[in-house]
């Protein structure tokens, strides 16, 4: 297999890559010109035909989402860009925003044209200071160059992009939580329906897309649908609901690997290839114990499941929730799975917004149970209790409003199912590994 030439990351690391001048030199804003020459419906169709699926976690087809907007709507339509990248292990958006913000802004401008929006809100995670500075500088450059403003690119259309910093909450990455937060309210996800495409930000039709999705839109317009479809995995003919996994994807590799980092690879690369060929294997000659396929809310792959492809369907085949944000976190055999799981649960109980009872109380309870287990007071009955609690929370059983609790439940479900012997051994040995956990605040 020939080495994949990065597209999204092509300019990352080059000098002054965040500047408009260098972006223009590399052929920037040509895609926007192309798009503005087309009608909005044509742009939407191009994106729809490309099979682009949202990079934010759920993998919903982007073009299809755009067509959910009401037809012939007279009032404003908003585009909200989700840059509240809070899933543990994920940093692909950060790299794009810090090193190549114009690529994103171009994608936003194209998308706004496609959905007939004059206003985009970019909801940025508070912790990303450099991203904020670089994005704001890029937006200012765009206004000065006439790319944004009352006459965007001389098309006579109005386009404004507002950069909004969040205040540090995981739940603001949920699309309706993000909308509530943008409106200045507590980020409690909304009841759906109505979906944001019908009634979203300020009660107007709103499309919420991820940063990486926007970058992909730029390249689809630049290089065409055929190019995009030549990368990745076509739909599984046996699964009529599979929309395929086309295009390049930014994999965030972290944890116990020799070369952690953000790798741009075609969708469908296996975890083994990513870890051992690109990531340089596990340090100190240790073995893989578990791999998080796409942010800890997606669950765990065990060591013998590393050959499944990391596309939108692959992780689901072995009981994970999905591809998520493609943040691959490697856990080697020096770490107890109990500690890993405790860390996950602690994160989610801290980040639960507290709106729905099962998630608010369930995540905190699971953390308490694991805390007790780690202080040497666990019983095997606790495993069944953990499995029961994690099975009863989420939108899949229908007990919560948003999907955060599915994400909170999944690592528990996966860990208990795939690593039960280790839990039992841990409990039987009366081990105490309670120490300062890392990662979660």
């Amino acid at each position: 297999m020939p080495k994949f030439e990065p597209v999204l990351l092509a300019r990352v690391g080059k000098p002054d890559s965040q500047k408009l001048e260098t972006y223009r030199r590399d052929g920037g804003y040509e895609a926007l010109k192309k798009a503005l020459a087309m009608s909005p419906e044509e742009v939407t169709n191009v994106v729809k035909d490309s099979g682009l699926r949202g990079r934010g976690g759920a993998g919903f087809p982007t073009g299809l989402k755009w067509t959910f907007l009401p037809k012939n709507h007279t009032g404003p339509i908003y585009l909200a860009i989700n840059a509240d990248e809070s899933e543990p292990g994920t940093f692909n958006n950060r790299i794009l925003m810090e090193d190549d913000p114009h690529q994103i802004l171009e994608g936003i401008a194209i998308s706004c044209h496609a959905i007939k929006s004059e206003r985009a809100y970019l909801y940025l995670r508070f912790e990303y200071g450099k991203s904020y500075r670089n994005l704001q500088a890029a937006i200012d450059e765009c206004y000065a160059a006439g790319i944004l403003g009352n006459n965007s690119m001389g098309s006579g259309k109005k386009l404004d992009i507002f950069l909004h910093r969040g205040a540090g909450a995981y739940i603001c990455g949920e699309e309706t939580g993000l909308i509530e937060s943008l409106e200045g309210k507590r980020a409690w996800p909304r009841i759906k329906p109505p979906f944001p495409a019908i009634e979203g930000l300020f009660r107007k039709p709103t499309i919420v897309n991820n940063i990486e999705t926007m970058a992909c839109v730029t390249h689809i317009l630049n290089r065409g649908v055929e190019w995009f479809k030549s990368i990745g995995v076509p739909p599984d003919p046996k699964n009529p609901r599979d929309a395929g996994s086309y295009g390049p994807k930014l994999y965030c590799l972290s944890g116990h690997v020799n070369k952690p980092g953000c790798y741009e690879l075609p969708l469908g690369v296996t975890a083994r290839e990513l870890i051992f060929e690109h990531g340089g294997g596990i340090p100190h000659g240790r073995k893989v114990k578990a791999v998080v396929p796409g942010g800890i809310s997606m669950g765990f792959l065990s060591a013998d499941e590393l050959d499944i492809p990391l596309d939108f369907n692959g992780p689901g085949k072995v009981g994970c929730l999905g591809l998520g944000t493609a943040a691959v976190v490697v856990v080697d055999d020096s770490i107890s799975i109990v500690d890993v799981l405790y860390n996950c649960c602690r994160f989610f109980s801290h980040e639960s917004c507290g709106q729905c009872t099962p998630c608010r109380e369930g995540t905190a309870w699971m953390t308490k149970i694991l805390e007790r287990m780690r202080s040497g007071h666990g019983t095997t009955r606790d495993l069944d209790l953990l499995a029961e609690v994690s099975g009863s929370i989420g939108i899949i059983p229908g007990t919560t409003i948003c999907g955060l609790s599915d994400g909170a439940a999944w690592p528990v479900k996966n860990a208990i199912k795939k690593f039960r012997p280790e839990f039992e051994e841990y409990i039987a040995s009366g081990k105490k590994t309670a120490r300062v956990p890392v990662g979660a605040h």
């Binding site: 909450a169 507590r186 409690w188 009841i191 109980s349 801290h350 980040e351 639960s352 917004c353 507290g354 709106q355 729905c356 009872t357 099962p358 608010r360 109380e361 369930g362 995540t363 905190a364 309870w365 308490k368 149970i369 805390e371 007790r372 209790l385 009863s392 939108i395 899949i396 059983p397 229908g398 007990t399 919560t400 409003i401």
Partner: protein
């Protein structure tokens, strides 16, 4: 008609009714437990107590059920909706939610005010699992020192249904309460220095389904299972909120609002809620008094009533136009009718005036905006007319006299000696007569005062009749919109005071006992403008005067619900 199937039982709903699954199930007599849902507030579907299984009945008779659970409060019903609330899956979900709600709940029912009317208790009993599997310490949240003058918050008992938060945002519009923190550390709180002191604040206590928000006034006063409750009507303004009067041992403990779509809706204001203290106050007239010219006094009803009647009848014989009565807007329709009819029977020349109608500012409408200005389409109104029954008394006066004489006119007639015999009724607990007005009364040859509290008029009176408060009598109040509602006797009058209706019944020489329902029928048949009262029993929601009586006057003792 659209048909909804609730637990295999078909129930019809109105064609243009917008019901959710909870309401549809209620129609079928099935209770779906809820915490966060309240018919007057927006839907948040966050407590997850009302989870049900839902499906659709296709025209061909097949039923397609959805694979996951749905919150009943958020799910609208349409023709063919199938609701299942008694399946094993639903029961498991209910058990689960209750277990979660009780995880960090202190279970301090023995010292909790809500115990006995607590939805956590009730639902745990009906739907819960009865034991906890939590082995870890509970998450403790300290109680709040101060969140308002009338309400207190036990943070640890809270189930985060956010009804109170939504109430202050949507109904009062004052938005003092909010949710702080996140996850299981979440609490209800106020913004520092901005306590919840709006005039509707007391309602959050009723809204709270658990013992988190308690009324400072009622706190630790009585276990609720000892309370005896009567449905009544609030007397503090002309809105006439439907209320419940809770009492034990002839002492009122609290008033609560009662849902009445015809009157005020679900809520009541704090003026009314806490405004009943005077009925047990030190200024209460507790016994009748007769002062003869020699100065001798009597406190015996049996002596006073015949003497007063004789004095009044004598005065009418002497000069009927010099005899007058003032009918207070705090009287019930029945009392006004008895007094007016008695005097007019003695002589049509006797004069009837309307007592002083206390008005304060303008109507106080809610919700308010951030600057305290009322928004359009008010959801709750505290009226500026601070008496319950001006309309009813006026209708009586118009029937018997054709016109309504204002109180001031009558006083000037007293001053110019046109009137020398006066029957005064009071009842306004905030005072209805000033010292200077009362000074005029000294000129009267005979003054009888029927009142609740001591007033400047009482020392001038030759006959003081100790009447009853709204909680001590049966009768009818007609509110600003012409809605006739019943007030019901909840307690006995203190010491030797008597309900006004009984006093006037006996004074006017009627036989038998005062019985509000029968008297209401009599009024309905005699006074055309009050024909709606001929139903007798006004029912829970009262009767609008514009409503034609649909039921013929029923036989005595028969229970009739108003249409």
């Amino acid at each position: 008609m659209p048909t909804v199937i609730v637990n295999d039982k078909p129930v019809e709903i109105g064609a243009d009714e917008k019901l959710n699954c909870v309401q549809a199930a209620q129609r079928a007599g099935v209770e779906i437990p809820t915490y966060c849902w309240h018919p007057a507030l927006s839907v948040v579907a966050s407590c997850r107590m009302c989870l049900i299984e839902m499906g659709d009945k296709k025209p061909d008779g097949t039923i397609a059920m959805q694979p996951k659970l749905f919150p009943a409060c958020q799910t609208p019903v349409k023709d063919g909706t199938v609701i299942v609330s008694n399946s094993e899956k639903v029961k498991q979900a209910q058990k689960g939610t209750l277990e979660y709600l009780l995880l960090n709940h202190p279970l301090d029912c023995p010292v909790c005010d809500q115990a006995g009317e607590c939805f956590l208790q009730d639902y745990s009993y009906r739907y819960g699992r009865g034991y906890t599997r939590l082995q870890e310490p509970k998450t403790l949240k300290p109680d709040k020192d101060y969140i308002g003058d009338q309400i207190t918050l036990f943070t640890d008992r809270c189930v985060m249904c956010t009804r109170c938060v939504r109430f202050t945002r949507e109904i009062s519009g004052t938005a003092e309460l909010q949710v702080i923190n996140r996850g299981s550390h979440e609490e209800i709180d106020i913004f520092p220095g901005e306590p919840c002191n709006n005039k509707l604040a007391g309602n959050v206590v009723d809204l709270c389904p658990v013992g988190a928000l308690c009324s400072k006034d009622f706190l630790y006063k009585q276990r609720v299972w000892w309370l005896q409750t009567k449905s009544s009507t609030c007397p503090d303004c002309s809105t006439g909120c439907s209320i419940r009067v809770d009492q034990t041992g002839d002492v009122v403990k609290r008033l609560r609002p009662r849902h009445n779509p015809k009157a005020q809706g679900h809520f009541m204001c704090d003026d009314g809620r806490f405004g009943w203290k005077y009925i047990h106050g030190p200024d209460r007239l507790t016994q009748p008094e007769m002062r003869s010219p020699q100065g001798a006094k009597s406190h015996d009803w049996d002596a006073i009533q015949p003497a007063l009647r004789a004095a009044l009848e004598g005065a009418v014989t002497r000069k009927a136009s010099a005899v007058a009565a003032v009918l207070s807007p705090w009287m019930t329709v029945e009392e006004a009718y008895l007094l007016a009819k008695w005097l007019k029977r003695l002589s049509p020349q006797t004069r009837l005036a309307l007592g002083p109608v206390r008005k304060e500012g303008g109507d106080d409408c809610y919700p308010k905006d951030v600057r305290g200005k009322a928004l359009p389409n008010p959801k709750f109104t505290i009226r500026h007319e601070k008496c319950p029954n001006r309309k009813g008394v006026e209708l009586i006066l118009q029937h018997f006299q054709g016109s309504v004489i204002p109180f001031d006119t009558l006083l000037s007639e007293v001053e110019s000696n046109q009137v020398d015999t006066l029957f005064l009724t009071g009842g306004d607990p905030k005072g209805w007569i000033t010292e200077s007005q009362a000074a005029v009364l000294g000129k009267l040859k005979m003054l009888a005062v029927l009142d609740l509290l001591k007033s400047p008029a009482t020392p001038k009176a030759h006959y003081v009749l100790a009447g009853g408060s709204f909680a001590e009598k049966d009768g009818t109040f007609i509110n600003h919109a012409g809605l006739a509602q019943a007030i019901v006797k909840a307690i006995r009058s203190p010491e030797n005071a008597r309900p006004d209706g009984r006093i006037l019944w006996e004074l006017s020489g009627r036989r038998g006992l005062f019985h509000a329902t029968n008297l209401r029928r009599e009024i309905g048949q005699e006074v055309p403008s009050l024909a709606a009262l001929s139903v007798g029993d006004l029912g829970e929601h009262g009767v609008l005067l514009t409503e034609r009586p649909t039921v013929a006057a029923p036989v005595r003792g028969e229970k009739v619900t108003a249409s």
